[in-house]
């Protein structure tokens, strides 16, 4: 991709390049500043969380105190279970539905599709009061499935996969059927493998969304056994005794570390998946 950019006659040159680079760095510094601050505060004693001296001693004490102050190991487990459950269910439900919309003609398809698109706007996040009641009726309040269920059928996922499945050449589909594959086998053998980049890109979006989701988990959970990291973090930072940024920063880094590291390691793949997925 760098080769393409370099050939473009509109790539900035000389003075323009310097100005653009400077501007992009400035913005980048501004954008990364909160993270830098969190790193600074987390690794220094509390009295340096508002003073920035190079001589400040380094410490891991904040991490130790944060880890001891709340059952973060359990919160991590809960969050991992949550995102796995949500993403796993989303993949299955959305793949099936997208296949139906992309390659099947059936009665009421138009209306069904419009209804699905409606959920792009009217999402579960705003229906907190009624969904809370539903979970109460189902008797699953304060459990990980209760956090996950409203999100498992995702209009975004269905829409995205439908767009992708539509670009799969019809000939591949026909060929598989001629070989005797049934409807489901065609889906699994032809469509799903071709849509792999879309699954990766969608996985990134879904996992980061649900790892970071807060309001709904806050409402439906109230015990350590079901709380995800975000809610655990809030319970732990909303103390009666004032904010301690050193511990909060340490906890913030701990809770975001899995996503952050995954992103740093896989960022090239992520961006390329997005490009190949053709989300645009």
């Amino acid at each position: 991709m760098s080769a393409l950019a370099s050939r473009s006659p509109y790539a900035p040159k000389a003075g323009g390049l310097v100005a653009e680079a400077a501007a992009s760095w400035l913005l980048a510094i501004f954008w990364i500043l909160p993270l830098l601050y969190a790193v600074w505060t987390a690794f220094h004693p509390a009295e340096f969380s508002t003073r920035f001296e190079l001589a400040a001693p380094l410490t891991l004490d904040n991490f130790r105190r944060a880890w001891a102050a709340a059952p973060f190991a359990r919160y991590f487990l809960n969050s991992v279970l949550l995102v796995a459950l949500v993403f796993g269910a989303q993949v299955i439900l959305c793949t099936l539905a997208a296949y139906a919309f992309a390659r099947h003609e059936f009665f009421g398809k138009g209306i069904a599709f419009a209804l699905v698109l409606l959920q792009l706007m009217i999402m579960p996040d705003v229906l907190i009061v009624e969904n809370y009641r539903t979970m109460g009726t189902l008797g699953i309040l304060d459990s990980i499935p209760a956090i996950a269920l409203p999100y498992v059928a995702s209009a975004f996922g269905i829409f995205l996969l439908r767009q992708t499945f539509k670009t799969v050449p019809k000939e591949l589909d026909d060929a598989a059927r001629l070989e005797g594959a049934n409807d489901l086998q065609v889906l699994l053998k032809v469509y799903v493998p071709l849509a792999k980049p879309v699954y990766v890109a969608y996985g990134l979006v879904s996992i980061s969304y649900h790892w970071n989701n807060f309001l709904w988990p806050l409402i439906v959970t109230n015990s350590v056994e079901s709380r995800p990291v975000t809610v655990g973090l809030q319970v732990f930072s909303s103390g009666d005794q004032g904010v301690d940024w050193a511990i909060i920063s340490a906890a913030t880094l701990m809770t975001s570390a899995p996503l952050l590291i995954a992103f740093l390691v896989f960022q090239r793949q992520f961006v390329q998946s997005f490009m190949r997925a053709g989300i645009r």
Partner: protein
């Protein structure tokens, strides 16, 4: 393994088995307690529960740590609505009316059989009982309670030419001291504020201190009438707003509750008003000598109480309720109350706790621990009405409107009073 060891093991096993059998006949009580799991307080409470079981083998106590007060009451009400409430729980004293409205709790006096038991309810500081009683019945038993006190930086006082051992005794001194304590850089920006009263989150609590000092109450005992727009209340709010707007000795706008202790540690404010529950935090984090005093008086000294009471659920068997009463009596005995205060920094809930050897030794070593007690004789009940959250929000909005300068004190409080009238009308 030799024979002797084997025998010991067998005896222990047998003992364990009989212990189990005994436990099976025992009454089990569940106990919701508002604290995030893993903190030092859970260990203390677990220890108390174990001690109680040792003294009362026929009762088993199961503490359940449920997070913040807000989360605990949500959890308690959810459990109540699904028919499986905890036997007892510690919830905000101000939630009393909400719990009564939800039909979730029973009056404590109905569960007391003997005169000695009834005498027990009279052993608490009267200020704490104000939030625990309505219409002649007692619904809550004080347990982890607090009040607001003033912390001051003795170094800053010395630098400003004030007596470092003397806190402001009244509102005028408070302003005068604060003005002397406010330091500015050459361009006129404050580098140290004289005083700081936090106003985010629950400003009504801090405001209630000022209003009590000005000589007014916020609500009646039935929790159906409020008196937000009394002239004394207006005077109190005006005083608070004037600290920053007129006297320029208090930071402008809304002051964050959570950052106030930090501001104090960083010497950005020389005096702060905050809960006694912060005592240990301040003690551990200040790098300068500090003092703790009762709040400055106006017509009278005063502060609202705060914190949590024990409640007993309605929909549980009578023998569990009786066992819960015994547990609560044990938890609030003078020795226990004293130990609790020493361990946590909360106020011991009864006067005789301060006569115990534990407490005497502690106060001697750390005199600020007695300040909250000394203030209790002037303390009033924290604002609590039916639909408490909603009424409180109306008042919070009014306070913030005045402090940010968008509404004058009298109009803001008038608006809050009108709103409270509307909310409370159905309960009269």
């Amino acid at each position: 393994m030799d024979r002797r060891n084997f025998l010991t093991g067998a005896t222990a096993l047998a003992g364990l088995a009989s212990g189990r059998a005994r436990a099976a006949e025992a009454t089990e009580i569940t106990f919701y307690y508002p604290v995030a799991v893993g903190g030092p307080i859970t260990k203390i409470v677990d220890g108390y529960a174990a001690d109680f079981e040792k003294a009362n083998p026929e009762v088993k106590v199961r503490p359940i740590y449920a997070g913040t007060y807000q989360e605990t009451i949500v959890k308690m009400l959810t459990a109540h609505k699904s028919g499986t409430p905890p036997t007892t729980s510690v919830l905000l004293s101000t939630d009393m009316f909400s719990l009564i409205d939800e039909d979730a709790i029973v009056p404590i006096d109905g569960l007391l059989k003997s005169d000695a038991d009834r005498g027990w309810l009279k052993s608490f500081f009267p200020a704490f009982m104000e939030n625990s009683r309505t219409a002649g019945e007692t619904w809550g038993v004080p347990f982890q309670r607090s009040t607001i006190v003033l912390y001051w930086n003795k170094d800053a006082f010395r630098e400003a030419g004030l007596d470092p051992e003397k806190a402001p005794a009244n509102w005028d001194e408070h302003v005068a001291f604060a003005q002397k304590l406010t330091k500015r850089d050459p361009s006129g920006n404050a580098t140290q504020w004289g005083t700081q009263i936090p106003s985010s989150g629950f400003p009504y609590w801090l405001f209630q201190a000022l209003a009590t000092e000005a000589g007014t109450k916020f609500m009646d005992e039935a929790g159906t009438h409020t008196f937000f727009d009394k002239p004394e209340a207006v005077e109190a709010l005006q005083y608070w707003a004037d600290l920053s707007q007129k006297y320029k000795c208090h930071p402008p706008g809304i002051v964050e509750w959570g950052t106030t202790p930090k501001d104090f540690f960083e010497r950005k404010c020389a005096m702060m008003w905050t809960t006694t529950g912060n005592l240990t935090n301040v003690r551990n984090n200040t790098k300068f000598p500090f003092g703790v005093a009762i709040l400055p008086a106006h017509k009278q000294p005063g502060s609202p109480t705060g914190g949590g009471n024990f409640y007993i659920s309605k929909k549980v068997p009578a023998e569990q309720q009786a066992a819960a009463v015994r547990f609560i009596q044990w938890m609030t005995s003078p020795e226990r109350a004293a130990q609790w205060s020493v361990d946590t920094g909360y106020v011991a809930v009864r006067p005789d706790a301060y006569d115990t050897p534990t407490m005497k030794a502690y106060v001697e070593k750390f005199p600020p621990a007695a300040v909250a007690r000394d203030q209790l004789k002037y303390a009033t009940a924290e604002l609590s009405t039916h639909e408490n959250q909603r009424v409180t929000k109306a008042l919070n909005d009014a306070i913030q409107a005045t402090l940010t300068g968008s509404k004058p004190a009298d109009r803001a409080l008038k608006d809050a009073q009108v709103e409270a009238e509307r909310i409370l009308k159905p309960y009269r």
